[in-house]
Amino acid sequence: MRQNDLILQTVTKVAAFVILLFAVAIFLGGHYSPGGGFVGGLMTSAAIVLLLLAFDIKTVTGILPIDYKLMIGSGLFISSLTVAGGLFFGVPLMTHVYHYVDLPLLGHISLHTAVLFDLGVYLVVVGVTMTIIQTIGESE
């Protein structure tokens, strides 16, 4: 029973991108303002879920041909590398380093290894949510 959801689809096309951008912004700004990998990841998944609801699974996998299970793995890998990174510099595990730099356009910002760890969290969260939703959705 195919319904006419033209309005939903049109709105989604715009909204999904806005949400995605917002998710990235929230993820990157996490260390200084509300946000972080967890929320960012959830929000990204929300955007994809919105796409899934508006279109169907086949179309979305066509647009985003991502293996979410692989995403979980790479996320875990990145995070554990950041955790283990301390070993190579003779400091305790999970020691983070940060530094302030001046970049063109972006200005005075800080580069933080915690963001790498958070990137792992982000990937895992997106991977986990989407794996669950996709497998349940596909089984219909």
């Binding site: 303002s33 972080g36 983070h96 969260v125 089984s139 219909e140």
Partner: protein, 801 residues
């Protein structure tokens, strides 16, 4: 992190790369890459020989959990070094052998070498750790990696059975060992073995001493396959032969020996230790050699022979404990038992390693290991035959091989024990040499079976799967090297005595091995009792071997159904049956039952604790004022929750539930927790859509009228109970301020130490980052679990195999 740490870590690191190497270089046997590491490690460790020879100890520390006194302390003394050399040395030869044994076309080499490397690293960790917790971690790692190795051919039922058996038994022992370790720590207030040894005198009088001793020994005995825990070792022979040669002769089973040797300075002065270790060893020696004779599988014989040889070493370590009760060194005949134990440990690794490889060659070239089918291989495989003769004769204790020397020393120690006048030796001590002698006769017989049955007699080609011929040269290198070591150590017994054996003995009995302690192994020492015993062993052995068919039936006198194996099988079956009974009662498949038991447990346990600890406290003094917004939101939540109860359709309940969730996030906004609010909002959105996805699969909502009154009443009681308990806990938690709030610490340090202004995020990624790490791991496992379950159900739950 020192070089030593990297050395122990290197097998694990290489294990990460092996699958990549396997994929990239398909044409090259992965074993060649792996081979480099043990050789490098062996050279690295042999540098330490000159240091330990002078009695030096190398100690390196890396902090792990300083607050609990747990450090990754590695130290090298004579004992640790001996084992490290065995692990890497035999390891190199085994890897070399496996390159020719395992075909690169048919086998999953990437898995095999990953498991083998994990095992090698774990084993190095066991023998070099000073911290007992670190040692225990590595110890269990050896159990796990050997489980994987034994079950390597996991499509075979016997492999899975053997792997499970070894895991169950060794992990059971490992857990009891953990208990022993904890007791030791309670007594000595340290995890460090060195510090425990330093206070061994005070530990003796502690009331926990005996339990700790028993628990630790249980761990060592299960690992080293001592009677009655030996039953896992024969089944572990389902592993590929290189694994058997490595794990079940040279290294893993010796972890128990290592533990006994390592903790000897702590426990050995106790009479209980003397009796338990030496008697367990002797029984194992006897039972292993007796059982070996009835085996028909070549590897089965070798498995039981390993059991018996491990018993021999164990009993020697037990006897060596008597040495501690005599001050003078010169006349201390009991110290010789420890020397013999160490010497035999080395010898056993050489001859048993070569014999396992020979068994593997026979299996590889003929397709069978059944001695009833084999025979007459001597002409076809002359080199293999020579190696087998050297190995088996050494095992039987014949001159001029190294096994002869250590067997003589073993017999001498058993005779010397008669003069011992402590530990009530007068009553039962006479049995020691008798049992040792009888067991040695059986040892002689099974050694002869190993070498004579396959290689002499009639060649029955029709029984063999393949036409036998000599093994390729690569497969022969390792056993030849080991066999030549057998001869070299036999002819020049003192080659190792000052460089390897003496420091190792000093590691086992540090209080005795002073500067004037010397090890000298004599090839010939006159017509002592042990020489007559050896002559007797050979004479009786030949006699009994010749008449083997006539009396072999005696070995079957224990019927299979009352054997230890049957006991184990019944135990496992009983466990499975009771587990499935519990599952049937609890796992009804109805989510209501699950929630019912969870909530009931929640109410009872928390309610009882609240009552018992008298924890309820109400302090209205520091309540915040309730604003009108909060009141409104709270009433929305309450009304929403009640409305869910009366919702007629599932869609309505889900939407109301979502509304309740959104209202909660508004609460967070009010209480100025934007992070939580954000997360709650997104979570609500996603979970509502998840619910919608699941809609399709859910059965129609049961009509509420059908439910009985009592059912409704029970549910109402339980839900009210949960609500009351949670409210009580929340109120008490708010009113009981035992400590200062930790939030100030985070507020002050978030920017100073972690450079972040969002405290919640700083806690998540920095201060408590490890928690987050494990949280995302749990999430990943959950997701993969859901994926696997749903995909399995889609294929009808049918396994491919």
């Amino acid at each position: 992190m020192s070089l030593l740490h990297w050395a122990v870590l290197s097998p694990f690191l290489l294990a990460l790369i092996v699958p990549i190497l396997y994929k990239l270089f398909r044409q090259i046997h992965t074993g060649w890459f792996v081979l480099i590491l043990p050789i490098l490690l062996f050279t690295y460790f042999s540098r330490f020989i000159s240091l330990t020879k002078q009695g030096d100890i190398i100690m390196e520390r890396a902090t792990w959990i300083p607050s609990l006194g747990i450090h990754v302390d590695f130290y090298i003394d004579g004992l640790g070094l001996l084992f490290a050399l065995l692990i890497t040395g035999i390891g190199s030869l085994v890897v070399l052998y496996s390159i020719f044994y395992l075909s690169k076309e048919k086998e999953k080499l990437n898995q095999f070498y990953v498991f083998l490397l994990l095992f090698m690293g774990a084993m190095l960790g066991v023998v070099l750790s000073d911290n007992l917790i670190v040692l225990y971690s590595f110890w269990e790692f050896t159990s796990l990696s050997s489980f994987l190795l034994i079950g390597y051919w996991n499509e075979r039922e016997r492999s899975r059975y053997g792997a499970q058996k070894s895991l169950l038994i060794t992990v059971l022992g490992g857990l009891s060992m953990l208990g022993g370790i904890i007791l030791l720590t309670v007594m000595g207030n340290t995890f460090s073995i060195r510090e425990l040894i330093a206070q061994s005198g005070e530990l003796m009088d502690h009331s926990l001493f005996t339990p700790a001793l028993l628990l630790v020994l249980l761990g060592a005995f299960t690992k080293s396959a001592q009677f009655p825990f030996h039953i896992w070792l024969p089944d572990a022979m389902e592993a590929p032969t290189p694994v058997s040669a490595y794990l079940h002769s040279a290294t893993m089973v010796k972890a128990g020996i290592y533990l006994v040797a390592r903790l000897s300075p702590v426990f050995a002065e106790s009479g209980l230790w003397f009796w338990l270790v030496s008697i367990a060893g002797l029984i194992t020696l006897f039972w292993g050699s007796f059982s070996a004779i009835k085996q028909t599988d070549l590897k089965g014989i070798l498995a039981f022979s390993t059991i018996s040889q491990l018993g021999l070493i164990m009993s020697l370590l037990g006897l060596g404990a008597a040495a501690l009760h005599y001050e003078s060194l010169g006349e201390n005949i009991y110290l010789a038992a420890t020397v013999a134990a160490v010497f035999h440990l080395i010898n056993h690794a050489t001859f048993k390693g070569s014999l396992f490889m020979v068994a593997g060659i026979i299996d590889h070239e003929t397709g069978t290991r059944d001695i009833r089918k084999l025979g007459g291989l001597m002409q076809l495989m002359p080199i293999t035959f020579t190696v087998a003769v050297i190995g088996a004769f050494s095992m039987a204790g014949l001159p001029p091989f190294n096994g002869f020397l250590s067997k003589e020393m073993f017999l001498a120690s058993m005779v010397n024990v008669l003069e011992l006048n402590i530990f009530n030796m007068e009553t039962w001590g006479g049995l020691f040499p008798v049992v040792a002698w009888v067991a040695s006769v059986f040892t002689f017989i099974y050694s002869m079976i190993v070498v004579l049955k396959p290689f002499t007699g009639k060649l029955q080609l029709q029984l063999l799967e393949k036409k036998p011929h000599e093994a390729p040269i690569g497969m022969l290198i390792s056993p030849i090297i080991l066999a030549s070591l057998v001869i070299v150590f036999g002819i020049f017994p003192n080659l190792l005595s000052s460089s390897i054996i003496k420091p190792a003995v000093a590691g086992i009995q540090p209080s005795l091995a002073g500067p004037d302690f010397q090890v000298h192994i004599a090839f010939w020492h006159g017509f002592q009792p042990e020489v007559w015993m050896t002559i007797g062993i050979i004479a009786f052995g030949i006699l009994l071997y010749k008449t083997l068919p006539k009396w072999q039936k005696i070995t079957q006198w224990i019927p299979e159904r009352i054997s230890l194996n049957a006991f184990y099988d019944n135990g496992v079956r009983g466990l499975e049956r009771s587990a499935s009974f519990v599952m049937k009662v609890l796992m009804t498949g109805s989510i209501r039952t699950y929630l019912l038991s969870i909530f009931l447990f929640f109410i009872l346990s928390l309610g009882f604790t609240l009552y018992w600890k008298d924890a309820f406290k109400l302090d209205t003094g520091n309540f915040a004022r309730i604003s009108i917004y909060e009141l409104v939101l709270a009433s929305i939540i309450v009304i929403g929750s009640i409305a869910i109860l009366f919702a007629r359709s599932r869609l309505t309940s889900i939407i109301i539930l979502g509304a309740v969730g959104y209202t909660i996030s508004l609460f967070f906004v009010l209480l100025r927790a934007p992070d939580l609010a954000l997360t709650q909002l997104v979570i609500e959105t996603i979970s509502v859509s998840l619910f919608l996805l699941c809609f399709f699969h859910l059965p129609l909502m049961a009509s509420r009228k059908e439910e009985r009154m009592t059912f409704k009443l029970n549910n109402a009681l339980i839900s009210i109970g949960v609500g009351v308990i949670v409210t009580l806990i929340a109120l008490s938690a708010h009113s009981n301020k035992l400590f200062d709030s930790i939030s100030n610490y985070y507020l002050e340090n978030a920017y100073k130490e972690a450079g972040g202004k969002n405290v919640v995020n700083v806690i998540l990624v920095d201060f408590r980052g490890l928690d987050t790490m494990f949280e995302i791991s749990v999430l990943s496992i959950a997701a993969l679990g859901i994926f696997a379950m749903i995909k399995l159900r889609l294929t009808g739950g049918k396994d491919k195999s």
